[in-house]
C-alpha cells in the first residue's frame, strides 16, 4: 500500500511522544498533543503524510509548526526523530538551531521532563497555538493575530495558551458588558434575535474563563450564577464541568477547557445580523466582547435570510459550534463499488458442484441480471481501485453465492411488512456485557465483557472447533479431498469459546467478513486480532495508548478502523502492526467508528457531539456533521451508501445525507441512550436499540423518499426538518428489561437483537 510508509512514520513519532509524555504524568497535555500536531496537516490542506508534505508547502505557518515540533522533540531528547523530521522537511540546521536558542530561553531546562513537568505541556501548547493560528489566518482576515503570533514566536510558555485571556478589563464590568449585549440582542428584531443568541454561549464561556484566569474568583462565580441559566439546555454537561472550575490552576490540564481554548467556536450568522451586532459593539465601544468575538469565535457569514430558531437548534449543540460550510464541500464518492462478480460462469460451476439441491437453471438469469446491474458504474461511486482491496479468495466467492441465494429469499420489508425480531439474551453475564457482534451470515455471535474476556458462540448446530496442533497436523493426508475437515480437532468441539488476552474491559468487537478473524478493542489500549480457526490471539495492535472505545472491520476485510480516548481514529491493515492512517480532528474521545459500505470512507462519532467522515485515501476529513446534543454512540450507513444514521446518548436518531453533508431527519422517541442502529438489508427500515429496553423501527424509505434536497439547501446548508418522528416510527418493541446492545439484520431480513438480561 502506497501510503503505508509515511503512515508508519507518523505512528513512530506518535508513539514516541506518547511514551515520553505519559511517563511524566501530564496526561492531558500529551493527549492534546496528538490533536495539535496531527490536526496541523488537515488544517493546512495536506494529506496525512504530514511532515513530509509540509516542507514542500513552504508557507510560514507550516514552517513555524515544524519548528515547534522540532523544538519539542529536542527538548525530550528525541534526537533521532529530530534528524528524521529535519531530513524529511528539508529544513536547514541553522533555522532549527535558531529556534532552539529562542526556545531554550523560554522553556528553561529543556530535555528533563522529570524536573519540568510542564515542559511537554508548554511545547504542546505552542503546537496548538501555531496550528490554531494557521487555521485562523486562513479564514478570519480581520482577526488581530499579530500579538499572539508574536508571543508564540519568542516565548513558548504554557501560559501562551491561556495568555489570550490575560488581557483584562475591570472584572466588575463583565457583568455589565454581558447584560448590555443581552439587552441589545433581546431588543433586536425577532428574525435576528435567534441568530445573535448563538453568541451567548461562547461569549459566556470565554468571559467566565477570563475571569477565572485572572483570579477573580468571586466575580467569576457571580457571573456564572447570573448567566448560566440563560444558556441553551443542551450545553448543560459542559456547563457543569465549567462550574467546577474556579481556579487558574484548574484550567491547566482540563480537557474540556483546552478544547474550548484551541478551537474556535463556529457560528453561522447571516450578514445582516452580523452587521447589526458589529455596529452595536462598535457604537458601544465594547472592546471586551469584540475582542473575544474576534479571537475565539469563527463567524461564518452567509448572505440571505437569517435562520429561524428551530433551524439553528437543529444544527447546534456540538462542543465547538456548527461545522463551517467549507468543511462539507468536498466531494464524497458515496456510491457502491461494483460487485466483483466477474467470474459468473465460474461461480455457477461452483454452485453446481457444491450443492445438489440447488437449481442452477433458475438462478442463472437472476445472477446475470445482478451482474449486468453491477457492471453499470455508479457515477457517485469511487474508482474500483481507489483504495487497494484484497483479492477474493475462493471461500469468499462461495460466501457471495450463498449471500445472493439468501437474498432471493429475502423478505421485502416496508411500512406494512415489519420484520420479525429475535432477541438473543446473554444470561448470567455477571462479567458485564459491553459489546456484541454477529457475523454477516448470522452463524456466530460474540460478546465482549468488562472482565476483559471475549466469548464466541455458534448459534447454529455447527459446533466451534479448533484446528489440530502442529504435530497432529503433520499426520494427516494433505492430498485428501476433505482436508479442510480433517484439520479440525473434533475433541475441541463446543458451543462456545472464550478468548483471553486483554487486560481491561473489551469495548468493541467485530467479525471479519470472511468469519476467520475477530477483532476486539479494550481499555488496555490495544486492538487484538483473534483467529477463529485456532481461537488464539494473532496480533495485538498497539498504537492507541489510551482506552480504545470502538473498532470495526472494513466490509471487504483486511482494513479496520479503531478510535478511542486519544481522539484519534486509526486505520490499520491486518498485516501491518502500525496504523496506515490516523484521523485527527475530533475535540473529544472517539466513541464509535464505522466503515462506509464502499470502504473508501470511515465515519467516526465522538463525545464532542460531532460526526466526522474521513477519506481513507487522503486522510482528509470530508464531512463534519453537527446537531447531536450528546456523545454519539452508534452509527449506521444505509446499504446504498447514500445516507447515514447516528444515535446519541440524548436518545435521538439523526439521519444524514452524505452527498450534501446535511441533516435530513430527526427521529425522536427513545428515552435513553441509543447503543445500536442498523438498516435492513434493502434499506427500507431502520432499527434502533437503546438503554431504555426498546427496539424501535423507523420507516427509512419514507424518510429518504420524502426528501427533496434543492440546490439552495445544499449550498447554504440551511436545513428545514419536518416534525415527522411519529409518522416514521413504525413500532416500539419492549424487551424483558434488557438493554439492546446490538442489532443485526440477517440476510433474509430477520432482525436479531442482543443484550444482557439484568434482573
Amino acid at each position: 500500500m502506497a501510503a503505508s510508509q509515511s503512515g508508519q512514520l507518523d505512528a513512530e513519532e506518535e508513539r514516541d511522544i506518547k511514551s515520553e509524555t505519559s511517563s511524566d504524568g501530564s496526561r492531558n497535555n500529551s493527549s492534546s498533543n496528538d490533536g495539535g500536531s496531527l490536526s496541523a496537516s488537515p488544517g493546512g490542506g495536506k494529506p496525512s503524510s504530514g511532515g513530509a508534505g509540509a516542507g514542500g508547502g513552504g508557507s510560514t505557518e507550516e514552517q513555524r509548526t515544524l519548528l515547534a515540533v522540532l523544538q519539542f522533540l529536542r527538548k525530550n531528547n528525541l534526537s533521532e526523530s529530530v534528524e528524521i523530521l529535519r531530513r524529511e522537511a528539508g529544513l536547514s540546521d541553522e533555522e532549527a538551531e535558531d529556534q532552539k536558542g529562542s526556545g531554550g530561553s523560554g522553556g528553561g531546562t529543556g530535555g528533563s521532563g522529570a524536573k519540568d513537568p510542564e515542559g511537554s505541556g508548554e511545547a504542546g501548547s505552542l503546537l496548538r497555538r501555531v496550528s490554531a493560528a494557521s487555521s485562523a489566518a486562513a479564514v478570519a482576515a480581520a482577526a488581530p493575530t499579530t500579538s499572539r503570533v508574536g508571543a508564540g514566536d519568542d516565548r513558548p510558555d504554557v501560559n501562551v495558551v491561556l495568555s489570550a485571556y490575560s488581557q483584562q478589563g475591570d472584572p466588575a464590568l463583565y457583568d455589565v458588558y454581558y447584560s448590555g449585549l443581552k439587552k441589545f440582542i433581546e431588543s433586536v428584531l425577532d428574525c435576528h434575535r435567534a441568530e445573535l443568541s448563538q453568541v451567548f454561549y461562547p461569549l459566556f464561556v470565554h468571559m467566565y474563563l477570563e475571569l477565572v484566569y485572572n483570579n477573580h474568583e468571586s466575580e467569576s462565580k457571580a457571573f456564572f450564577e447570573k448567566f448560566s441559566g440563560d444558556q441553551e439546555c443542551y450545553y448543560g454537561d459542559d456547563l457543569r464541568i465549567l462550574s467546577g472550575l474556579s481556579k487558574k490552576e484548574h484550567m491547566r490540564g482540563n480537557e474540556t477547557l483546552l478544547d474550548f481554548r484551541t478551537s474556535k467556536f463556529v457560528l453561522r450568522i447571516s450578514r445582516d445580523s452580523y452587521q447589526l451586532l458589529k455596529r452595536h459593539l462598535q457604537e458601544r465601544q465594547n472592546n471586551q466582547i469584540w475582542n473575544i468575538i474576534q479571537e475565539h469565535l469563527y463567524i461564518d457569514i452567509f448572505d440571505g435570510m437569517p435562520r429561524s430558531k428551530s433551524q439553528i437548534d437543529a444544527m447546534s449543540g456540538s462542543l465547538a459550534g456548527e461545522a463551517k460550510r467549507e468543511a462539507n464541500k468536498a466531494k464524497v464518492f458515496y456510491g457502491l463499488l461494483k460487485e466483483p462478480e466477474i467470474e459468473v460462469p465460474l461461480d455457477d460451476e461452483d454452485e453446481e458442484a457444491e450443492n445438489e439441491e440447488g437449481k442452477p437453471k433458475k438462478k442463472k438469469p437472476k445472477k446475470d441480471s445482478m451482474g449486468s446491474k453491477s457492471k453499470k458504474q455508479d457515477p457517485n461511486a469511487p474508482q474500483q481501485n481507489r483504495i487497494p482491496l484484497p483479492e477474493l479468495k475462493d471461500s469468499d466467492k462461495l460466501d457471495k453465492i450463498m449471500n445472493i441465494k439468501e437474498a432471493t429469499k429475502r423478505v421485502r420489508l416496508g411500512r406494512d411488512n415489519l420484520p420479525s425480531i429475535c432477541f438473543y439474551s446473554f444470561l448470567n453475564a455477571y462479567q458485564g456485557l459491553t459489546a456484541v457482534d454477529f457475523t454477516d451470515d448470522s452463524s456466530l455471535i460474540a460478546g465482549g465483557y468488562a472482565d476483559s474476556t471475549v466469548r464466541v458462540w455458534s448459534v447454529t448446530p455447527k459446533k466451534l472447533r479448533r484446528v489440530k496442533s502442529a504435530a497432529d497436523l503433520g499426520l494427516i493426508d494433505k492430498e485428501s479431498d476433505d482436508v479442510l475437515e480433517r484439520i479440525m480437532d473434533e475433541k475441541t468441539a463446543s458451543e462456545s469459546k472464550i478468548l483471553h488476552g486483554h487486560s481491561g474491559p473489551v469495548y468493541g468487537i467485530s467479525f471479519s467478513p470472511d468469519r476467520n478473524y475477530l477483532l476486539s478493542c479494550s481499555e488496555d489500549g490495544t486492538v487484538r486480532l483473534w483467529s477463529l480457526q485456532t481461537f488464539t490471539c494473532l496480533v495485538a495492535y498497539k498504537g492507541h495508548n489510551y482506552p480504545v472505545w470502538d473498532a470495526q472491520f472494513s466490509p471487504y476485510g483486511y482494513y479496520f478502523i479503531s478510535g478511542g480516548h486519544d481522539r484519534v481514529a486509526r486505520l490499520w491493515a491486518t498485516d501491518h502492526y502500525q496504523p496506515l492512517r490516523m484521523f485527527a480532528g475530533h475535540l473529544a474521545d472517539i466513541t464509535c467508528t464505522r466503515f462506509h459500505p464502499n470502504a473508501n470512507y470511515v465515519a467516526t462519532g465522538s463525545s464532542d457531539r460531532t460526526i466526522r467522515l474521513w477519506d481513507v485515501l487522503t486522510g482528509n476529513c470530508v464531512r463534519i456533521l453537527t446537531g447531536h446534543k450528546g456523545p454519539i454512540n452508534a452509527l449506521a450507513f444505509s446499504p446504498n451508501g447514500k445516507f447515514m444514521a447516528s444515535g446519541a446518548t440524548d436518545g435521538r436518531v439523526l439521519l444524514w445525507d452524505i452527498g450534501h453533508g446535511i441533516m435530513i431527519g430527526d427521529l425522536k422517541g427513545h428515552t435513553d441512550a441509543i447503543y445500536s442502529l442498523k438498516f435492513s438489508r434493502d434499506g427500507e427500515i431502520l432499527a434502533s436499540g437503546s438503554m431504555d429496553n426498546t427496539v424501535r423501527l423507523w420507516d427509512a424509505s419514507k424518510a429518504f423518499d420524502d426528501l427533496e434536497t434543492d440546490d439552495f439547501t445544499a449550498t447554504t446548508g440551511h436545513i428545514h426538518l419536518p416534525e415527522n418522528s411519529q409518522e416514521l416510527l413504525l413500532g416500539t418493541y419492549m424487551t424483558k428489561s434488557t438493554p439492546v446492545v446490538h442489532l443485526h439484520f440477517t440476510r433474509r431480513n430477520l432482525l436479531l437483537a442482543a443484550g444482557a438480561y439484568n434482573p
Binding site: 462565580k221 425480531i421 458462540w457
Partner: protein, 524 residues
C-alpha cells in the same frame, strides 16, 4: 450565593484535610489546608467526570468503584483498593463526632477456609434466543390491572377505559366529575360496557370503603343515564351490584360514623332509575327483586340496616310494591321493631338508633302509599288518568321522557299472574289508614294535615292534590278502626327518609318519576 455554589458539588472540608495531614504527621496552616481542600475537591470532581466515561462505554447506568479506579489509573493516581465488592457498601456514622466510614467487618479466615458449604460458583454465561415479535407483532401486553379480555380492544378504547376508571376511582374529585359526565354522554364507548360492568361488579370487594362504593354507584348512574348506550343483558349485573349496596350488611356499616344510610338510599334511588329508564329490560327481574326484598325483611336475623335497605328498596320500586310486600308484612315486623325501640338500655343505643331509621323509612313509605292510593282513587273517579308527571324537575334535556308504559308498576309488568301475591286483594284506603294509624299514631296523621306542610311548593303545584277520603282528617282516628291500644302509638317522630338529598329536604317526590339525579351524587 457563595453557599449555593459550594453546594453544587461535594466538598472536602478543610478540617478533614488537616486531620489527614496530622495522621501522617504533617502540621498544616489554615490557608494551606483551605487551598488543599479546594484542590482535592476539584480533583475528585475531575476524576468522577472521567470515570463516567468508563461507565458509559460499559453500557451501564450505575458507576462502580472499578470505573473510578480506572479513571484514577489513567491519570496516574494510585487506585483505591478494597472496595471492589459488587454489593452496596453500607456507609455508617460514628455515634460521637461527625465521622463517617464504610463498614468493614472482620473476616474469619479459619472459618472461611474450613467451611464445608463451598459455593458452587456462578452459573455459566450463555446466550439464549427467543422470537420476540413475529412480523412486527408481538407480546404487547399492557401493564396494570386491566382485565385480560380488554387486550382485544383498540388502542384508543383501551386508553379511554384506563383513563376513565383511573379518574373515577382516583383522588381528584374534579377529574371524577369530568369522567362521569363523559361516561354519561359518550355514545361511542358501547364496546367498553362489559368492562365497566365488570369494574362495577367489584362492589363486593370494596364493601369496607364507602367512598369507593359511592364512586362505583356513580358509575352505574352514568351508565344507565347514557342515552347512547344499550345496556342489554348487562343490566342484570348492574342491578345485582346495586342490590348488593342496598341490602348487604356492608363492612362499612360496622362503624356507626359511616353514613351507609345515604349509600343505601342512593342505591335504592338507582334501582328505581334502572326500572324507570330500562323497565323493558328488567321487567323479568321485578318479581325476583320483590322476593328477595321480602325475604330480607322477613328474616329477623338480618341486621336493621338490611331491613332498612329492604324498605327503601321497596319504596323505590313504587307504591304498589310497598302495598303488596311491606304493608302486609308490617304487623309481623312491627313486633320486632317495637322491641328494639322500647329497649332503653345503653348497650342498645346504637341498635335503637338504627331502629329509628327503619321506623322512619317505613313511615315515609307508608305515607306515600296512602297518598298514591288516594290519588288513584281520585283518578278512578275523575276519569282517564291524566299524565301525572310532568317530568322530574332538573332532568337533563336529552334523557328520554318517562312514558306511561315504562312506569315501574306492577300493572305495567307482564307476568304478574301466577305469582305468590296472586291471592292478594287490595285493602280499602280507610282500612289501611286505620291499620297504619294504629302503628304510627299521630306521626302519620301530621303528614296528612291540611296545607302543604312538608311538600315542596313545586311538587305541590305539579301534583293534583288528592283529596283525602272522608274520615281521614288530621288526628281523626277514623270510625271503627281505632286500635285502642295506646301503647302501640309511637312517639311523634319526625323521621325523614331522605331518599333524595334535595336542597329543600323533602323526601317525597312525585310518583312515579325518579327524583332528579342531577342534583344528587356529585354534590356529595
Amino acid at each position: 450565593m457563595a453557599d449555593r455554589e459550594e453546594r453544587r458539588f461535594a466538598e472536602v472540608p478543610r478540617d478533614s484535610v488537616r486531620l489527614m495531614a496530622e495522621s501522617v504527621g504533617v502540621e498544616l496552616g489554615d490557608d494551606v489546608a483551605a487551598l488543599l481542600a479546594e484542590d482535592v475537591s476539584y480533583r475528585l470532581r475531575e476524576a468522577t467526570q472521567s470515570s463516567s466515561q468508563f461507565m458509559r462505554h460499559a453500557k451501564r447506568r450505575k458507576m462502580t468503584v472499578e470505573d473510578f479506579n480506572r479513571a484514577l489509573r489513567w491519570s496516574n493516581v494510585e487506585p483505591i483498593c478494597g472496595y471492589g465488592a459488587q454489593d452496596a457498601l453500607p456507609f455508617r456514622s460514628a455515634k460521637d463526632g461527625e465521622l463517617h466510614f464504610v463498614e468493614d467487618r472482620d473476616v474469619n479466615l479459619v472459618e472461611l477456609a474450613l467451611a464445608t458449604n463451598i459455593p458452587k460458583g456462578c452459573a455459566e454465561t450463555m446466550v439464549r434466543v427467543n422470537v420476540s415479535y413475529l412480523d412486527g407483532k408481538g407480546n404487547l401486553e399492557p401493564q396494570g390491572t386491566v382485565p385480560s379480555a380488554v387486550q382485544t380492544l383498540s388502542e384508543d378504547l383501551l386508553t379511554y377505559y384506563q383513563q376513565i376508571t383511573r379518574a373515577i376511582l382516583g383522588d381528584d374529585p374534579r377529574l371524577m366529575k369530568v369522567a362521569l359526565f363523559d361516561l354519561q354522554s359518550n355514545s361511542k364507548m358501547a364496546a367498553l360496557l362489559p368492562y365497566f360492568v365488570y369494574v362495577i361488579s367489584g362492589v363486593k370487594s370494596v364493601s369496607h370503603d364507602l367512598e369507593q362504593l359511592n364512586r362505583l354507584l356513580h358509575m352505574v348512574r352514568s351508565l344507565i343515564q347514557n342515552p347512547g348506550l344499550y345496556l342489554g343483558s348487562y343490566v342484570r349485573s348492574l342491578v345485582s351490584s346495586v342490590m348488593y349496596c342496598i341490602l348487604e350488611p356492608l363492612a362499612a356499616s360496622i362503624n356507626p360514623l359511616n353514613d351507609h344510610w345515604t349509600l343505601r338510599d342512593y342505591a335504592a334511588l338507582l334501582l328505581s332509575h334502572i326500572f324507570w329508564y330500562h323497565g323493558d329490560l328488567v321487567s323479568g327481574l321485578y318479581h325476583q327483586i320483590l322476593l328477595s326484598l321480602q325475604k330480607v325483611l322477613s328474616d329477623p336475623v338480618r341486621p336493621l340496616c338490611s331491613h332498612y335497605g329492604a324498605v327503601v328498596g321497596l319504596h323505590a320500586l313504587g307504591w304498589k310494591a310497598v302495598e303488596r310486600v311491606l304493608y302486609p308484612h308490617l304487623p309481623a315486623y312491627w313486633a320486632n321493631l317495637q322491641a328494639v325501640l322500647d329497649d332503653h338500655s345503653v348497650s342498645n343505643a346504637q341498635v335503637k338508633a338504627d331502629g329509628h331509621k327503619v321506623y322512619g323509612a317505613i313511615l315515609v313509605a307508608m305515607e306515600r302509599l296512602l297518598h298514591m292510593k288516594a290519588a288513584s282513587r281520585f283518578q278512578a273517579v275523575a276519569g282517564p288518568p291524566a299524565r301525572k308527571d310532568p317530568g322530574p324537575p332538573g332532568r337533563g334535556a336529552g334523557s328520554p321522557g318517562p312514558g306511561p308504559s315504562r312506569e315501574p308498576t306492577a300493572e305495567a309488568v307482564p307476568g304478574v299472574a301466577g305469582h305468590p301475591w296472586e291471592g292478594w286483594s287490595p285493602v280499602s284506603l280507610p282500612a289501611m289508614y286505620g291499620e297504619l294509624y294504629s302503628f304510627f299514631g299521630d306521626s302519620l296523621a301530621v303528614r296528612f294535615s291540611p296545607g302543604p306542610v312538608a311538600r315542596g311548593p313545586g311538587v305541590a303545584g305539579a301534583l293534583p292534590r288528592a283529596p283525602l277520603p272522608p274520615g281521614m282528617g288530621a288526628r281523626d282516628p277514623g270510625p271503627g278502626h281505632v286500635h285502642p291500644d295506646a301503647g302501640r302509638k309511637m312517639p311523634q317522630l319526625t323521621a325523614n327518609l331522605s331518599l333524595s338529598p334535595r336542597p329543600d329536604g323533602s323526601p317525597r317526590v312525585t310518583e312515579p318519576a325518579p327524583p332528579s339525579l342531577a342534583a344528587t351524587g356529585l354534590s356529595r
